[in-house]
């Protein structure tokens, strides 16, 4: 068995994973899916790293991949917070909802408007208040619209 085809296979799989992730990031608007696509690209790179590592008989690639996984886990947690916060602000997961950094005189880009229905009527659990409980108007508190 020549090592070359094995490396080639690994690289092909890695490249495919990367390409799928890239297409996902570029084409999808759902924040969570885009986040998943980014992870996919990361894994594509990891696969090619492992392939090269095996090809060269060097464990460095493997070790690097472990690091990548660790970092990806942390990054996933942080990214999820961002996504959740973004959702809490607008009530939707659409990346196209966040265009306010564009040039002021450019129009808003709308290729396809999402149906408005899936943004409304979101209720979230409230956390148990910690420490000394402040005086809260119960009625107003229960009927409040947002956290």
């Amino acid at each position: 068995m020549t090592p070359a085809p094995l490396v080639l296979d690994g690289l092909i799989v890695g490249a495919m994973l990367f390409a799928i992730g890239l297409v996902g990031i570029l084409a999808r608007r759902n924040l969570i899916v885009m986040f998943l696509s980014a992870e996919l690209m990361l894994q594509g790179v990891s696969v090619s790293l492992v392939a090269w590592s095996r090809h060269h008989g060097d464990w460095g690639g493997h070790i690097l991949v472990i690091f990548v996984l660790t970092v990806a886990a942390c990054e996933a947690a942080i990214a999820l917070v961002f996504v959740l916060q973004a959702f809490a602000r607008t009530g939707r997961l659409d990346a196209a909802a966040w265009q306010s950094l564009r040039e002021s005189n450019l129009p808003r880009v709308v290729d396809r408007e999402l149906p408005p229905g899936d943004a409304v009527d979101m209720k979230f659990p409230t956390l148990t208040p910690a420490g000394v409980e402040p005086a809260i108007d119960e009625a107003a508190h229960l009927q409040r619209e947002h956290v």
Binding site: A95, A96, W98, R102, V109
Partner: protein
């Protein structure tokens, strides 16, 4: 002898007004309505010092001289006070080696021995005291004092009150320095300084557009003359190797107007260079003294406050040109062509300005043209090139300072009472409203018109006599015959080998017979008749103004309101003093002949070339009759046209016809200047502005437009949409990767 303290006194004359000006600037706001005190007190002190100097020097020159030698010829007197050395550049001027080669005379050896290898450029702050300076200082400070006192009343409510007095004091300082300076560079410096004071005082009410424009015009026209003075100073330096008037021990060459060069009959350059120097000095004098063709600024300068007009634009600053020509008399004596040019310019200006003055309706403008005309007289007198002409010019300067300041202050008094109205057609019969002003104005007018006992009569008579003696030399020959030999001034000549850089020279000695021969007699004859006609016109326009203003039914413009009254005593006081001076000064100075004798002791006028033309003091009855007749004719004509009720109707104006509009439009000189100088320059300026706006600014804007255009193109990609940024990132990465691959190929 009073030579110990004389130099201190000489320094005090300009120093006191300078202190006054600085104090007024520093404390002006603090003093408020008392802001005139520093200026008035300092100018008063300077006037006292100047009169002390004049009297002391007069006693020294006139009485002392008579006591010693018993002859009538005065000893030339000068005293130099060097305050400090301003500039000292060693080896600034290396005389060209062949400059003496042309002058191969028998004294070549002496010249070569005395010729230094190079000359230092050494300029001191040198003040000089001589009769001419003393007379000028006395006139400047006395008129300045009276005008300053008058201004207390005239300017009392003006918001620029401290500024006015600071400027007046600064002007008195500059003018005193100008006449006391003893080298050409200092003269140039203070020539500019008085011009700056004049500019600031013409534009005193700078919010008024016409005043600002008049100030600008005065400044620009004066630049032309100042340019002449600058070039003349350069030429003097190149020709004589020094700029000092006096001989100084520090300098290897004798001063231009020093005793040594004055006593040397070949001391002055004639020919092209000498004539060029004289004509450039004349150009400078024309600018400052408002002679043709640079007279256009003076009538407009009447936009300034009337006291400033009286002080600067009638009595003192405009006579700086007369002073300069009189001071440089020996230079002119070497160049008869330049001399006759001075006379021609003066007499022509006198005639033209008088013609214009006959149809002016603005009282101050009548006086302005009269000033130009009288200055023309002085130049005509100086240009005769005889001692009588020079002394008569300065004599007329002195009397004119008194009576013209009087007339201007009188006009200011009228203007003050009429609520700022100065158009003579709008008021009349004011002798009942303001009797003191009317009486003093009448005295000033009689002096200006040249009526017998008043000051102008004597000085004008001397000027006419000077012109007459050049025009009809034979008629005066007997005077010269007895006078030319014993009237030489005595010059003390230090023994030093003369040094001259003159290569092109006709000596003053050959031209020195100017008073004796009949050269250019026809020219001077014409100038005499022109001056006589001008005397007639002077009397006419003066009394036209008097009759229009003070006779006829009393009319007061509505601007005056109900307070058309005589001016306060602080204003009429100076008027009365000046009226007395205008009445007695002429007779006093003429009958005793003290002024002429005194001035003859000025080194410039005591040099043999000038002193040889001295004539005995005489009263020419025939000339006086002609002058008086001309004046009487003018007054009678003015009375026919404007006395009493006739002052209200333009009876006279229709006789002039087209000439009247020519005079009223000031011979279209302003229009001609506008057409040949101002308009082309404006067009050039417009072209430059268009070039600047289109080409220069266009290039700058083009450069600025490039990043704008790039930014506008790139801006469209700034959509705020995450996916587009991702695409840009991917593409960018692709480009980098491809570039990397390209660079690593093969």
């Amino acid at each position: 002898m009073f030579d110990l303290d004389a130099s201190t006194l000489l320094v005090l004359v300009p120093a006191l007004p300078l202190v006054g000006a600085i104090l007024t600037v520093a404390l002006g706001r603090l003093l408020g309505p008392k802001a005139h005190w520093p200026a008035v007190v300092s100018i008063a002190a300077a006037a006292g010092v100047a009169i002390t100097l004049l009297v002391g020097l007069g006693r020294e020159v006139l009485v002392g001289n008579h006591g010693e030698s018993g002859s009538a010829a005065p000893v030339a007197f000068e005293q130099i006070q060097t305050l400090w050395q301003w500039a000292n550049v060693p080896d600034a001027y290396v005389p060209p080696a062949d400059s003496l080669a042309i002058d191969l005379g028998d004294d070549l050896v002496a010249k070569a021995a005395g010729r230094p290898a190079s000359l230092p450029f050494s300029i001191g702050i040198d003040l000089r005291l001589d009769p001419l300076t003393a007379v000028m200082l006395a006139v400047i400070t006395c008129v300045g004092l009276l005008v300053a006192i008058y201004s207390i009343g005239y300017m009392h409510d003006d918001p620029g009150y401290p500024r006015f007095f600071a400027l007046v004091a600064a002007f008195v300082f500059s003018m005193a320095m100008l006449v006391a300076a003893s080298n050409f560079l200092l003269v140039y410096v203070f020539w500019e300084a008085v011009g700056a004071c004049s500019y600031l005082l013409i534009g005193f009410w700078f919010r008024k557009p016409s005043a600002a424009a008049a100030a600008k015009k005065a400044f620009l026209v004066n630049r032309v003359g100042d340019f002449g003075l600058a070039v003349a100073v350069f030429l003097l330096w190149m020709t004589y190797g020094t700029l000092n008037f006096h001989d100084s021990a520090a300098s290897a060459v004798p001063g231009i107007l020093g005793m040594e060069r004055l006593s040397d009959p070949t001391g002055y350059v004639a020919g092209a260079v000498g004539t060029a120097i004289c004509l450039l000095l004349l150009l400078a004098a024309c600018g400052k003294s408002a002679q043709l063709p640079l007279h256009v600024w003076l009538p407009d300068a009447m936009e300034g406050p009337t006291p400033a007009s009286a002080l600067i634009h009638a009595a003192t600053m405009v006579t700086a040109g007369v002073y300069l020509v009189a001071r440089c008399a020996p230079l002119y004596m070497a160049c008869p062509e330049a001399l006759v040019t001075v006379s021609i310019v003066g007499a022509t200006t006198a005639l033209v300005a008088a013609l214009i003055g006959t149809v002016q309706n603005d009282l101050k403008r009548v006086l302005a043209y009269s000033t130009i005309s009288q200055l023309g007289y002085m130049f005509a007198s100086l240009g005769t090139g005889i001692l009588l002409g020079f002394t008569a010019g300065i004599f007329h300067l002195v009397t004119h300072a008194f009576f013209k300041a009087l007339l201007f202050l009188g006009a200011g008094s009228v203007m003050h009472a009429m609520g700022g109205v100065i158009d003579m057609r709008r008021f009349g019969g004011l002798r009942r409203v303001m009797p003191i002003t009317a009486a003093t104005f009448l005295i000033g007018s009689l002096a200006l018109a040249g009526v017998a006992p008043f000051a102008g009569f004597f000085s004008k008579d001397e000027i006419l006599a000077a012109l007459h003696s050049r025009g009809w030399p034979d008629a005066h020959a007997e005077h010269h015959g007895e006078a030319s030999h014993d009237a030489h001034a005595i010059l003390e000549v230090p023994s030093r080998p003369p040094f001259r850089l003159a290569s092109d020279r006709r000596t003053a000695a050959t031209a020195g017979g100017i008073g004796h021969d009949g050269s250019m007699a026809a020219t001077y004859r014409t100038l005499y008749w022109m001056s006589l006609f001008t005397a007639f016109l002077t009397a006419f326009y003066t009394f036209r103004a008097v009759f229009m203003t003070f006779t006829g039914p009393t009319r007061v413009p509505e601007e005056a309101g109900h307070h058309a009254h005589e001016s306060p005593p602080i204003m009429t006081g100076p008027l009365v003093v000046l009226a007395v001076a205008a009445t007695v000064s002429g007779w006093l100075l003429f009958s005793t002949h003290s002024l002429a004798d005194f001035l003859a002791a000025t080194p410039s006028l005591a040099c043999p070339a000038v002193a040889a033309t001295a004539t005995p003091h005489a009263f020419h009855l025939d000339l006086a009759m002609q002058g008086t007749l001309a004046a009487a004719l003018g007054i009678v004509l003015a009375a026919l046209g404007y006395l009493g009720r006739r002052s209200d109707g333009p009876l006279m104006d229709r006789f002039l016809g087209p000439l009247g509009s020519l005079f009223a439009n000031r011979f279209y000189v302003d229009e001609i200047y506008a057409a040949i100088i101002v308009r082309p320059l404006e067009i050039l300026a417009m072209l430059c502005a268009a070039f600047d706006r289109s080409i220069v600014d266009g290039l700058v804007n083009l450069v600025a437009a490039i990043p704008l255009a790039v930014g506008a193109a790139v801006r469209r990609f700034q959509s705020g949409l995450m996916q587009r940024y991702a695409v840009a990132g991917v593409l960018g990465t692709l480009v980098i990767v491809l570039a990397l691959a390209w660079s690593l190929r093969a």
